[in-house]
Symmetry: D2
Subunit: 345 residues, 4 copies
């Protein structure tokens, strides 16, 4: 039984980690931290956990790292690297859900996140944990950097086409829509129910921090420098994400060839479904599950393709993928702790 | 005082026409039709109208056309042309909110809507009522074909760039998101609350009927054959629409030049706002109003532009624009009956 | 033309006052205050106001009271009395939307609101502005205390029965449900979308501050000391309120007698509708309007009655009633500025 | 391994039964029926089930009852008794989720449901499956009638007080609020998103069919004829239910005594939580789980008590309790298949 610490439970990814790990057969939750709530039972924050037998919330400084095998770091970027820098040598594995170890280039990190990277030496060996494409590097990994929710949803839906070099790489446009939990649990008047319900808006247009992360992976997998167009929107749902990607196939390829590549690539994947032709994925059909569902469509414009992909931003887009990565890193069955199907309706 | 008949009040565009026209200073609602609800007071359908002094719902065949100056036809396509074909000679003006007279080419109509056009002779003189671009043709028009909600939101946000020939016309990709009233008031189990709330999905990918309508207008205004990529999504809000368009500028143009064109074009428009640089439009800020709000953004990719546009699909996207068109056709102030600002929060 | 100052526009009742007053034919908005937003245009807070010609947001201390005829005070309780105490002699009329002048007894105020009342001398002449029952006192009133949203919805639905002495006064139980705008525009993590959507809860059970206000009025109108049971709930809608009241009729009365009393009492009221037998009121049918809709029902238990009442908490429950009160106080038509019907769907 | 047939999967309680049973360790789903969808895979109805290995949807007449140990009947009332009457002798156990076997008196059934009861002889031995109060009768039961969602939420929150004879039985008023899945999966224009979102209303005021069911149980457990006042409301959330009950204690009892009775009664229950004084239950904290959470409050009025109770209407209010009942009937651990905690946020 591995002993886990979940850091940063005041945020929703921390809470989702608790929800998933509390019944993981090989993991025990030994410590839960949350700076502003230290000293409280976790059920003060999340009454749905009241019936579980969980440790109380403490401060990070009060964790006894000798008891911990694996850290799930659900902290804001910046805070995450500072903590991980301190504890990485004291534990077996760190699974980081923040942005701190996703970008390989510390200069790009600094440009994107507006602060220097203080643990750049850890970047090289950090595994970028888009699980389906990280299996060779995950076993025994010391530090796993889980992708952002937007990159996860986008990359699962684009990577096979890029890997197969079927795409004009400069053509890619990604229009993303996220549920509100993606914005976190912040006491901000722009996030209160009355400001958010029954309306939608774009944000971070042309400047969102997840774009360089998408570039990095597509460049890596295709071998061609890629710069995507990426625009996220906030829509009035709680969990869920949908990315609609527009791209141009290289001459000689068509939707059937593309679909075959996806079907082959994901055939044995427990958490990725390529839908039959004509079926559109709905975010509501993955809510609370670790599934990614992908639909491939031909546009009216010859050679143009539309790919729609949905995940639950908190599960596959965050804590679910973190658990999946840890399962692979330990050589366990990949689905341990992740067998919930979506709660629908 | 013009006497109006509103046809098809069981649908939401009919209801919105009632909401807007009942206090229009120059119009009196003389007849309201609704096939399945004939014989009932309209407040059985829309209790919010209970305090108004409105005629009861009747069948179309029971309208006395001699009393009617203007018809607002809020019928499904097909049914609309059949009725309009019969009554157009008996009334002064027909404002059609259906798709029946939007496409100039009856063959394209047949291909798009899956039925022949039986009144193709009316197409030539039907005015395509995207008001801001139809002013020369509207005065005295006999038949006004109001644009679809998606085309309205899209075209207002693209037309100035196309008109100025600043755009690589083959580059245009439109990702649209609509509130659920856009799907109408149909007793379908795919529209019930439990199937729709807290989730999102694309639909009509690559095949939506509003795409040819967008093509037609952009081709007309730019003088270049245009075929857009258009993908609509249904999101869990009631009223509201947002279109996010991706396009490439021709060499020599940039975001500043583009913004200036939009500002100049819409400076005196009462119902179109070009937002200051950096401000994103929210659909919630136009709910119940006839406004269109447009934000222009530079992408990370050099020469690429993102344009975000919001309307209320039932107001500017439908009945509001219908009233606006009629106001112009009569030479009245364009804002008569349309002075509601958005209901927010 | 009366010159109005709207104080406290950062809150939703202030915003609603702007929405209603900006097109009131006899009122001009001369000053708008908002402490934390002074120096900004109001459209920074409420982009839906961007197209209106409104003064910028200033601090209360920067209002030139010599220009002001009427103050609409949309401030928190406490802050409201402090400001009103200072300015009441400098303006013609103060319409207070806070709780500060609703309770006639300063000791009850202190007990209920946890602070002393510093302007108790103003209480005697403050008119409790439940408009339909305040008409004799409103003309020429100096200080009008608008009822809370819960009391408005409740009292309109109970007052005729109490006035007619048909009710066992000790039997009254009120179960209320409010939309989230009723909680105001506070940056609280308990109000963010993700904590509120798709769930409901009671709050303030047995201790809500609006209960003494309801008691006071029912005691006054019935002549019998009344202590109600009142339990509010927060439900996931934006605007709207529904109160369901349970009461026992005195011997000799029945539902028909009760309905007749209500019909007679409200027959000529522009903003109160008593629904036909069997019709239930929906909060969605009053959204954005100043209407109160009331349904009366017989329970299965002999002699027991259920009364359901709906309003928009921001309109009739707050700023709409404030405008209505001011209209009456000036001897104007009561519906000036209040002719919007509900925005539905 | 018991072989189960789930009848009526086109409705939401059928779908929820699939969700819960597909990973029950002692049960295999052998047959799924759905009249209008026979011949389709279940994932056509519920794409979230696409990755499960489930039998296709068939008609009831096509079930081979020899393969079936237990039937979960998720059919409408009427249809349910007709099917159960036919198959009850061919299978070991029938768990009925409809209203057909809840009321012991066939005359009351006929009066309440508007049709005769054709299998009244089965009523006597049908176990009314409010699990926490049915344990003595459940082991080996042939026919289990699961309570309605409203009765479940209400009775769990009232039964201990009635059992302890602490309540003035004639005083009880129950104000209930349900999410929209409670209305089922019906293609009705009154249930479409646009008619339901962002508003609330009462329905079935004074006449709802669940009231006699509540009466029957409270009468049984208290030994005193009880007739409750019960008013349900539909509010814009998907899953979830909240009942707020108002009652008067008999002389000599107070809130502390009451709370002690509840704590003692539910101490060892896995699915009922009595909250600490002052904590209100939220429906969102039981979404997707089988929990019932109960808060007890003293009213301002001496001797009056308010009890608030929440469940997920589809889980504890329907299919979850059905599984729980079957677990008890088989002598298994009561929590088998029911270990999901709520999906929050």
């Amino acid at each position: 039984m591995k002993q886990a610490a979940i850091l940063g439970v005041t945020g929703y990814t921390g809470a989702e980690a608790v929800r998933l790990l509390h019944r993981h057969p090989n993991i025990e939750i030994s410590a839960i931290t949350g700076h502003s709530r230290a000293g409280q039972p976790i059920s003060d924050l999340y009454p749905n956990f009241a019936e579980l037998n969980l440790p109380g919330v403490i401060k990070i400084d009060d964790v006894d790292w000798r008891d911990i095998d694996v850290v799930f770091a659900c902290l804001p970027h910046g805070a995450s690297q500072e903590t991980i820098g301190k504890v990485i040598d004291q534990v077996e594995t760190v699974v980081d859900l923040s942005a701190d170890f996703r970008l390989k280039d510390p200069i790009l990190y600094e440009k994107t996140y507006g602060r220097s990277h203080d643990f750049a030496d850890l970047l090289e060996n950090a595994v970028y944990g888009l699980t389906e494409f990280a299996r060779p590097e995950l076993p025994g990994a010391k530090l796993i950097a889980c992708p952002g929710c937007y990159p996860t949803c986008t990359l699962l839906s684009l990577a096979p086409a890029f890997d197969a070099e079927m795409v004009e790489v400069e053509s890619v446009i990604i229009d993303a829509k996220s549920g509100v939990t993606g914005a976190g649990r912040k006491a901000s008047d722009s996030l209160i129910y009355s400001q958010i319900t029954d309306g939608a808006h774009a944000y971070g247009v042309g400047v969102h921090r997840h774009a360089p992360e998408i570039d990095q992976f597509l460049t890596y997998i295709s071998g061609h420098e890629t710069l995507v167009s990426f625009t996220p929107h906030l829509i009035p749902m709680n969990r869920g994400m949908i990315t609609t990607s527009y791209l141009k196939l290289k001459d000689g390829y068509d939707i059937d060839a593309l679909r075959q590549v996806y079907k082959d690539r994901y055939e044995d994947e427990p958490f990725v479904s390529v839908l039959p032709a004509g079926e559109v994925p709905h975010s509501r059909h993955v809510k609370g599950s670790n599934m990614c569902r992908i639909g491939l469509f031909e546009d009216r414009k010859s050679g143009h393709i539309i790919i729609v992909s949905v995940i639950d931003n908190l599960t596959k887009g965050s804590s679910g993928q973190a658990v999946q990565n840890y399962n692979v890193s330990q050589g366990w069955s990949e689905t341990l702790g992740l067998t919930d199907i979506a709660l629908f309706p």
